[in-house]
């Protein structure tokens, strides 16, 4: 964990790298999240000040988008596609299996902090669904057995 001074320093560095972009806020939020795994509370006022917008505005933007997290996720993030083409090949069944196996619902993290489960709406893998993206790695034709195997392999 970084302390808040280090956090501020890293955010300042990210700001310096992105501030000249036209419409820099999303690239900045992405970079901050890539660095910290979420957008830390103390980052928002610094970002808002640098972009000359209100803190409420920065917060409003951040919360509008599904991708940005206010709190850290579990050690692993399992995102399962819930959209139609994956439904047509059993995505609902696989999702129910995941919830049961992990003992959590969408947007929750297992008690040991290991796995966060999230829905995603289409990964462009619609001809080889059910699709998943787990810690940034893509998976196609994910059935119950394959999911059990993947989850079992998460450290």
């Amino acid at each position: 964990m970084l302390d808040s001074v280090q956090t501020k320093e890293r955010v300042e560095e990210i700001l310096t790298a992105h501030i000249a972009l036209e419409g820099a806020l999303l690239p900045i939020l992405h970079a901050v999240q890539a660095e910290f795994g979420h957008v830390p509370q103390e980052a928002l006022p610094i970002i808002a000040k640098a972009l000359n917008i209100s803190r409420a505005e920065a917060h409003g933007v951040m919360t509008f988008y599904h991708d940005f997290r206010e709190k850290p996720a579990g050690a692993h993030v399992v995102k399962l596609c819930r959209a139609e083409a994956c439904q047509a090949v059993g995505a609902d069944r696989v999702a129910a299996h995941a919830k049961k196996a992990l003992g959590i619902d969408w947007h929750e993290t297992t008690l040991d902090g290991k796995v966060t489960l999230e829905p995603i709406f289409c990964l462009g893998l619609c001809a080889c669904g059910p699709a998943a993206i787990i810690d940034g790695k893509l998976f196609g034709r994910v059935d119950e057995a394959k999911l059990t195997q993947i989850i079992g392999g998460l450290k």
């Binding site: 419409g23 933007v61 994956c86 709406f121 462009g124 001809a127 080889c128 699709a131």
Partner: protein, 508 residues
């Protein structure tokens, strides 16, 4: 020895990276000098990961590859258990008209030399000899209409931006591709990124725009990576920069990443997002063509619209226009998804009937059960029953059947599908993804879920309520998210009434 193995997301999701490692290890063990090219996908997703070996007769295809199939690729190819024959002779490939996707799967996506060798930059070279009105006229003459869904004539949009007076203009490529069942934008960006860049440069020449953005959804990590690399390469050789190809005006490009909001595919919401704001929809007018990014004249076009520009300039507007049906000119990359026996990307002239696509090209369902419904055009598109399979694939033809072709994605469902559940999902999705600006969409979708649930509990009196609600959403929503959600809902209700007439007993 030269082997092609896709870096396409679908191939990777099915194990291509592991196959690539095994190929390299095997080649090393055998002392073979292996040239492994990570290409785009040919679009036959059911055969991925599909390897191709360069032979004197042409490229031979093998798939779907398992790790166990790797060693035999270094032996007698004809005897390989996954041998499919010459790629170009496979029926799926041979019957297509590949204009926009001509190079996808053929070339190394990041090799400009490959790109040029296969006709790349020919269109741009011709465009550099033309003035802006002539460029716009060529696009108009091609009959190209927006492939993002709305089908607006691309030439007319460009003309508006071209004639607008401003100190800065922009080209924004909409690569948000949020519709389920669609992956053409992704495949094009992963498999032939320079085509998109070339199309955007020509758009810049035609309109006087000097800066472009590609807004790619965050769900596409590989497409983002390939586009970023391609942009760097294009800049390094002077294709992008202060003087296009050492000849033209300035044009440069930035790759931007979305953040998981479906509505940001809507062009005005996308512009807000690019500007660093909440992705709420803007009221139109003003049109983005006049007041778009940062209030400046802006072309917003889909990936496939822009990626079709180079071939139009390479082969001429006439050539492109001669394909198609009625007012739907040129080719369309069909994306066959869901429960399809043969799923993937199939580029063909407009005009095939839905039945030909579903029964012949897709080969029916993967499960082997009867096809019950096909959703055409993504989450805002209608569910088509077999009774409407004679509908020809074209903008007006689908609109005439209370549907839309959208971005040309088709999701096939077998007879285990519950159309009431699909209608409920359409409302739920709209509720999750609504930008919140207008009430019919924000509140209507929540009421929609509740109303479908009442029907599911056997309350038939809720059916007229659902119809009314759909009418309100259709006429009162600010954009097509709320405005078109009634398409899947009403088509499910109209064509599959049995799924909505549950007796109380059965439901409880």
């Amino acid at each position: 020895m030269k082997i092609f193995l896709p870096l396409d997301s679908a191939a990777i999701a099915l194990g291509a990276d592991e196959i690539a490692l095994a190929l390299q290890a095997q080649a090393k063990a055998k002392g073979i000098d292996l040239d492994l090219v990570r290409n785009g996908s040919r679009g036959m997703v059911w055969l991925e990961p599909m390897a191709e070996v360069q032979t004197p007769a042409g490229r031979m295809a093998f798939g779907p590859m398992d790790l166990a199939d790797v060693p035999a690729l270094f032996g007698d190819l004809a005897a390989h258990p996954k041998a499919l024959g010459l790629t170009d002779d496979l029926p799926w490939m041979a019957a297509q008209t590949r204009l926009t996707f001509a190079r996808v799967g053929v070339i190394d996506p990041l090799s400009l030399a490959d790109y040029r060798a296969q006709g790349g930059l020919t269109g741009l070279a011709r465009a550099l000899e033309m003035d802006a009105p002539a460029l716009v006229a060529e696009v108009t003459a091609s009959g190209l209409r927006g492939r993002g869904g709305a089908g607006f004539p691309t030439g007319i949009k460009w003309k508006t931006v071209s004639e607008a007076q401003a100190d800065r203009k922009y080209i924004v490529c909409n690569a948000d591709e949020g519709d389920s069942a669609t992956f053409a934008d992704r495949m094009l960006m992963e498999g032939d990124p320079f085509t998109l860049i070339e199309g955007m440069i020509i758009a810049g020449l035609a309109t006087g725009a000097t800066k472009g953005f590609v807004y790619i959804r965050s769900e596409y990590p590989i497409a983002i990576h390939v586009m970023q690399q391609a942009t760097l390469i294009a800049r390094a050789v002077g294709l992008l920069g202060p003087m296009v190809m050492g000849k033209g005006p300035a044009f440069d490009l930035e790759i931007r990443v979305g953040a998981g909001a479906y509505v940001c595919g809507e062009e005005t919401s996308l512009l807000n997002s690019l500007e660093g704001k909440r992705g709420v929809v803007r009221a139109k007018p003003p049109l983005p063509a006049l007041e778009g990014f940062m209030g400046k004249p802006t072309v917003v076009n889909n990936v496939i619209s822009l990626a079709s520009i180079p071939v139009i300039f390479e082969k001429g507007a006439e050539h492109y226009k001669n394909f198609g049906l009625g007012r739907s000119r040129g080719t369309i990359p069909l994306q066959i998804a869901g429960n399809a026996r043969f799923g993937g990307l199939y580029e063909v002239a407009f005009g095939l009937s839905l039945g030909e696509i579903v029964d012949k090209i897709a080969g029916g369902t993967a499960s082997g059960r009867p096809v019950k419904a096909v959703q055409v055009g993504g989450p805002l598109g209608a569910y088509f029953p077999r009774a409407l399979f004679d509908t020809p694939f074209g903008y007006e033809e689908f609109a005439g059947k209370d549907g839309l072709i959208g971005h040309a994605g088709l999701t096939i469902f077998d007879d285990s599908a519950d159309m009431l559940a699909q209608a409920r999902f359409a409302m739920e999705f709209c509720a999750i993804e609504s930008c919140g600006k207008c009430t019919p969409c924000r509140i209507g979708a929540v009421r929609g879920v509740e109303t479908v649930d009442r029907i599911a509990r056997g309350d038939a009196s809720a059916i007229p309520l659902l119809t009314d609600l759909c009418n309100t959403m259709k006429s009162g929503s600010l954009c097509a998210l709320g405005g078109f959600t009634p398409y899947p809902v009403m088509s499910a209700l109209t064509h599959f009434p049995d799924d909505f007439s549950r007796t109380k007993e059965a439901a409880e």
